[in-house]
Amino acid sequence: MRSDNELIKDFQTGRQAAFDELVKRHLSTVFAFFLRITGDDMAAEDLAQDVFYKLYKHLGKFRFDAEFTSYLFRININTANTYLRKNRWRNWLHLDEVPEKSEESNEDWQWSRTELWNAVARLPKQQRLVVIMRIAQEMPYKDIAGILGVSEGTAKVNYHHGIKKLKEQLGAK
């Protein structure tokens, strides 16, 4: 099987099919990431489209300095970050009329996925990015640190501060 880098090189020489192959290879990961954030297939697919569209536009300039998966995940994170900030305002303006009370509700906690991600959106940027990567992708701290260009310790500290603030905001036990 051809590696990601080989496919990218093919794409950079003008072979469109190589890009399609990359999409097929990484679609499930990208889609699952956004599905965890949105809880909605349509919204997750739209966001995945955004990611691959950005990738198509910028892949021609990819320099192989970093792992392709890190590069792709950085696009994921930026897209999620933009989505959460936009969604936070939309929810604040009460554009979403139906409160999310579904099978997700549980007697142990009284908050929904929407409330959780709204609370994430209110975190300081660094904490927000670390929390997104940890909870939506279950990434190890080492990878998070690599993507954000910080030390592993900083990533851990940011995560714990972020989770603490989320607990306070959601009124969790």
Partner: protein, 127 residues
């Protein structure tokens, strides 16, 4: 269940994945649409720039080349005629009337009536 487990539980998603071929097809469709939109925008902006340029050129041409020559070419400045000029004009008019009239006496009578000085002086001298 601790807080982090609660979070993981609430965001747990199903294993559904969109149809890969449809997804790629929509992606390329969107890409083509964006290129088309960009071309349209570029054409629109270019057309607008052209219209503005032609407009500016037309306005500057109108400013540089007036459609009508200056009024001084048509009209000379009005100056108040002095008494000598008026007298000269009246003499010429009187001579013209006398030349052109069929009845010189009625013309003289008219000049007397309007108190044309040379004629009235002549009459007074005779009297």
């Amino acid at each position: 269940m601790d807080f982090e487990d609660q979070i993981k539980s609430i965001i747990r998603a199903g294993e559904s994945i969109p149809d890969q071929d449809q997804f790629i097809s929509r992606l390329h469709q969107r890409r083509r649409q964006e290129i088309l939109n960009r071309h349209r925008l570029f054409s629109g902006v270019s057309a607008l720039a052209l219209v503005v340029m032609v407009m500016l050129l037309a306005i500057s041409q109108l400013n540089n080349q007036p459609g009508y020559p200056p009024e001084k070419e048509y009209y000379s400045e009005m100056t108040e005629p002095d008494s000598a000029q008026i007298a000269e004009f009246l003499d010429e008019a009187a001579l013209y009337l006398l030349d052109q009239s069929d009845d010189i006496w009625s013309t003289l009578e008219f000049l007397t009536e309007i108190q044309y000085e040379p004629v009235t002086n002549l009459l007074e001298d005779k009297l």
